[in-house]
């Protein structure tokens, strides 16, 4: 569920644009006003503001925001202002430009979005970057990572709930066999993880647990430094419980020496309108501290205020 708090009566997009224009004018910027408006509008409303601003002032509001804001706050607001598919396309492109094998933004996006959402991302990627997402993934990755990630971003998983029980059993067995042989980049593992429906995979993972006495991820921890295993585990965790996965990303981002603002911004801007509420609940259970408190401790200034607004703190 969303953690956004939107006022009962929302000003017209033109009024909002006018206020935002005032926030940019003159010396300095009224960040508080920017947050007060943008952090309290839905995606549809933000799109309307973007259109209204362009009509009224002949400029894309994103350009103005880029000029006026700085650093992490700027990045967060810019991401926030994009339509979700375009946002994901931008995040994917960034992940590829500074690709490292430990990066899991691509995995996160490919696996936690629905099949149709993922196609919208691919369409947005065409429009913005004039290339296909998969061609860029293929060029920026190599070896086993390419074999894993290209099918992952290209998949169009069936979204029904049907499960083939005997298939789940045989594929759980197959996974176990290959994992046992430490043949992690094996085509069967990749085939199963990148093409089967989520319902089918959940059944497969359950079968794995029942049959072999422990969750599949336990067997994928042979080498804590192995990024490929990390990638496989991330895929599996995103399928089993995305909210738990996101909680962990946030937790690690906050606990890290200095904070991983990229990860924090990415998760909060992409999940605020989707399932941030559940993520917060899990965060509290796991850390005994509300997420708001952790963010206050770990971030500062406008960036902090913005994140807090998105997760519903000043509701």
């Amino acid at each position: 569920m969303s953690t956004l708090s939107i006022p009962v009566s929302v000003p017209s997009p033109y009024d909002d644009s006018e206020q935002l224009r005032k926030a940019f004018e003159g010396w300095g910027t009224n960040e508080g006003l920017i947050i007060a408006i943008l952090a309290h509008r839905s995606a549809a409303q933000r799109r309307q503001i973007r259109d209204a601003y362009a009509q009224a002032y002949g400029e894309d509001i994103l350009k103005a925001l880029e000029k006026e804001l700085t650093r992490h706050f700027e990045k967060a607001v810019l991401l926030w202002m994009l339509d979700p598919p375009e946002r994901d396309a931008v995040l994917a492109n960034e992940a590829l430009k500074k690709w490292s094998s430990g990066n899991r933004a691509l995995i996160e996006i490919s696996v936690t979005r629905t099949s149709d959402e993922m196609f919208a991302v691919r369409r947005a990627y065409h429009a913005r970057f004039k290339r296909s997402l998969e061609e860029d993934v293929a060029v920026h990755t190599s070896g086993d990572f390419r074999k894993l990630l290209v099918p992952l971003v290209s998949s169009y998983r069936y979204e029904g709930l049907e499960v083939n029980a005997s298939l789940a059993k045989s594929e759980a067995k197959m996974l176990h066999e290959k994992i046992n042989d430490k043949d992690y980049g094996n085509e069967e593992i990749i085939r199963i993880l990148t093409t089967r429906s989520k319902a089918q995979l959940l059944a497969t993972f359950n079968d794995y647990n029942n049959e072999f006495g422990h969750p599949i991820n336990k067997d994928l921890k042979a080498d804590p430094k192995d990024d490929f295993l990390f990638a496989l585990r991330s895929i599996i965790r995103c399928i089993i419980c995305p909210e738990k996965y996101f909680e962990k990303v946030i937790r690690l981002a906050i606990n890290k020496m200095g904070t991983d603002e990229y990860a924090l911004t990415r998760v909060i801007t992409t999940r605020a309108e989707v399932n941030m509420k559940q993520i917060k609940e899990i965060y509290y259970k796991r850390n005994s501290v509300p997420l708001e408190r952790a963010i206050k401790k770990d971030t500062t200034g406008d960036y902090e205020d913005f994140l807090l607004a998105l997760i519903g703190e000043d509701a």
Binding site: S132, E135, S142, K147, P151
Partner: protein, 318 residues
């Protein structure tokens, strides 16, 4: 051009698809209706929508009720499937053909054909239809059922959502032509279909980019990449389909119209004509004439019979 159907053509279509059977259908009128509705997919869409009892709306397209297909096939036996395929939504057609191929172990060239000659949106449509019809994804079935060494290539081809704009990076095209050339010279052609770079280039690059790449290949190596792919049929077909569907289809036409063609090859006649009638039939006819020195219509008229022949010719156009 929107030529209205004559009364008897309208009636023929209504009767033919109303499932009332046994009342006799005016086959000649049906065939001439096929011809009049060339290049007008919206008319067929209307047909599907108007027979709401027999087609269900399912995620963006109107699909055949299974019993209805079965019934119509019998009803239209003399048309050998053309009427059913013709009325069917293109997405459903492609999904059914792909599924048939995967489950009845027909040659996989049909999968390459569908993946490479349809536009990005049409291929997505086939995948949407595949979900609706078979409750699995196309790529999961391809990955599972295709165990030959070209499995990864096929999965990549059916999963592609190629950029369709014209912007091409010439330097990249040149460099990838070189990559392909090096792969072909060094690896045995047999292993080529598993080569990571070959798969990457063929399954992810846009078609305009690939055509330029193939052009550079020919400049650099003196032969077309098709020729150099010689015995590796799967790759050769992939390249042909990506480079020039009309040329590819004209070859298929030649095969299918030869004496002694087997059933699968013969089925290609219906498949190609129904699927390309509204797309690039003129270009296919031109390519056929250039390659084989004959008019496609004439050869079809010679080799086929009866209502089936008439329907084909109606779709091929004069």
């Amino acid at each position: 051009m929107d030529v209205p159907l004559a009364a008897e053509e309208c009636e023929a279509i209504t009767r033919a698809f109303s499932g009332l059977g046994g009342l006799g259908v005016d086959e000649e009128a049906l065939v001439s209706a096929l011809g009049k509705w060339r290049h007008q997919p919206e008319k067929r869409a209307q047909l599907r929508k108007s027979f709401a009892g027999f087609f269900t709306a399912d995620g963006g397209f109107e699909r055949f009720e299974d019993d209805y297909i079965h019934y119509l096939k019998i009803e239209f036996a003399r048309f050998k499937n053309i009427m059913v395929l013709w009325a069917m939504h293109p997405w459903e057609r492609d999904a059914r053909w792909a599924n048939d191929v995967l489950h009845k172990a027909h040659p996989f060239d049909i999968i390459v054909e569908i993946a490479c000659t349809r536009s990005s949106e049409e291929l997505l449509g086939a995948r949407i239809a595949y979900h609706a019809l078979f409750h699995r994804s196309l790529e999961e079935d391809v990955a599972y059922h295709v165990r030959e060494n070209f499995s990864n290539l096929l999965v990549g081809l059916v999963s592609a959502y190629r950029y369709e704009g014209d912007s091409i990076n010439e330097e990249m095209a040149k460099s990838e032509a070189k990559t392909l050339g090096t792969a072909i010279k060094s690896a045995g052609v047999r292993n080529l279909v598993e080569n990571g770079e070959v798969i990457r280039i063929l399954t992810t690059r846009s078609k305009p980019h690939l055509r330029v790449t193939f052009k550079y290949y020919r400049e650099m190596y003196g032969k077309s990449i098709e020729e150099d792919l010689g015995d590796e049929l799967c790759l050769q077909e992939t390249v042909q389909c990506l480079d020039s569907p009309p040329k590819y289809f004209s070859k298929v036409m030649d095969e299918t119209l030869k004496d002694g063609a087997d059933k699968n090859t013969k089925d290609a006649l219906t498949r190609v004509i129904v699927s390309r009638a509204d797309v690039d039939m003129e270009e296919i006819k031109a390519a056929y004439h250039e390659q084989y020195g004959a008019q496609l219509e004439d050869v079809i008229a010679m080799k086929t019979l009866g209502n089936y022949r008439d329907a084909l010719l109606s779709l091929v156009g004069q």
